[in-house]
Amino acid sequence: MLQLSNVSFQYKKKPILQDVSFSFPIGQIIGLVGENGSGKSTLMKVLAGLLQPTAGEVTLNGKQVTRRSADQIAYLPDTDLFFEYYSGEQLFQYYASQFEDFSYDKACIVAQYLQVDKSTKLRQLSKGNRGRMKMAATLGREVPYYLMDEPFAGLDPIVREQLIKGLIQFTDIENQSILLSTHELYEVEPILDRIILLQAGSITAYEEVETLRDVTNKNAVEWMKGFYRPSVNDTDRSR
């Protein structure tokens, strides 16, 4: 169990996360949504042990999360942090040297499934193909937790659909969990079990996606929009 207890994070005295408590169970795909600047990337980095919270604690199976927790957590950054003169093969070899759980063969199978050539240098790949390669490298790891920061951002619908299918095909949801942040909620909703809404550094809602549809007759996008309307009373008055 990956757990946040009263976690706050400040950057230059500016609060980014405010008193966030949450437990990520195994066996679920959870979507993290919220406007730009709501703290999604920071939350991911804190969970991955890449940033230390200013207050509160992050624990994995009861132990404090640090950079060393990377052996249990695969983190896919939203930026291109990889050496661009590497080919996909070299990237996979690098991952293999860093992570004991990395399967070079699995990464190659995922790359093939996503139809991206692993012998091409990253620099020579299109943005879509770099996104595919990043996903192949991440899914090449066999860990209980995957944290993916905007894995579909800036990619065309065809690539997004392929990555979504790759995620379903190459993870074992009985024994693994995925937390992914996204703005492409409409397309991503069918693969989510649950959804977390982050607003100004706080979790303001946490729901089961199917329950939303069942109880409110709304899909996730409409549900989320409800949290951003100026005020329900204002819209009523304007009628």
């Binding site: 066996g27 679920q28 795909i29 659909e161 979504i164 299918k165 379903i168 095909q169 949801i173 069918p190 693969i191 989510l192 079990d193 996606v209 199917e210 549809r213 069942d214 007759n217 709304k218 899909n219 409409e222």
Partner: protein, 118 residues
């Protein structure tokens, strides 16, 4: 291709309807084997947990049966499928009646239109 889902119904129940529809249209035959949970999840672009729920639901409806180690199969019970056909017809008719009522049409005037359509 992944599926498009309507917004007001849980995804699992839309998939149950889809599989039932495939049976009624004869796209799936009695005794046919369904894809594995993961295969169907990838095909439709849906969470594995959701597809598991779909398969559980179909089994609870006695529309499919799971044979240990072999997979999930459409029932060979013709009566059950006949019942499904009747249920679907009734459901469709009920939906239709609700829609025409909302627009103030009578059953009788719609019947005339329906007959002339064919």
């Amino acid at each position: 291709m992944t599926m498009d889902f309507s917004r007001d119904k849980p995804i699992y129940s839309q998939l149950v309807d889809r599989i039932c529809g495939d049976i009624l249209r004869g796209k799936l035959l009695l005794g046919d084997r369904l894809p594995s949970v993961r295969e169907y999840a990838v095909e439709t672009g849906v969470n594995v947990n959701t597809v598991q729920r779909v398969y559980k639901e179909l089994e609870a409806m006695n529309i499919t049966e799971t044979k240990r180690g072999q997979g999930t199969f459409i029932t060979t019970n013709e009566e059950r499928i006949e019942l499904l056909r009747e249920d679907m017809k009734n459901q469709l008719a009920a939906n239709f009646l609700t829609s025409i009522e909302a627009l103030g049409f009578s059953k009788e005037e719609m019947l005339v239109v329906l007959k002339n359509k064919a």
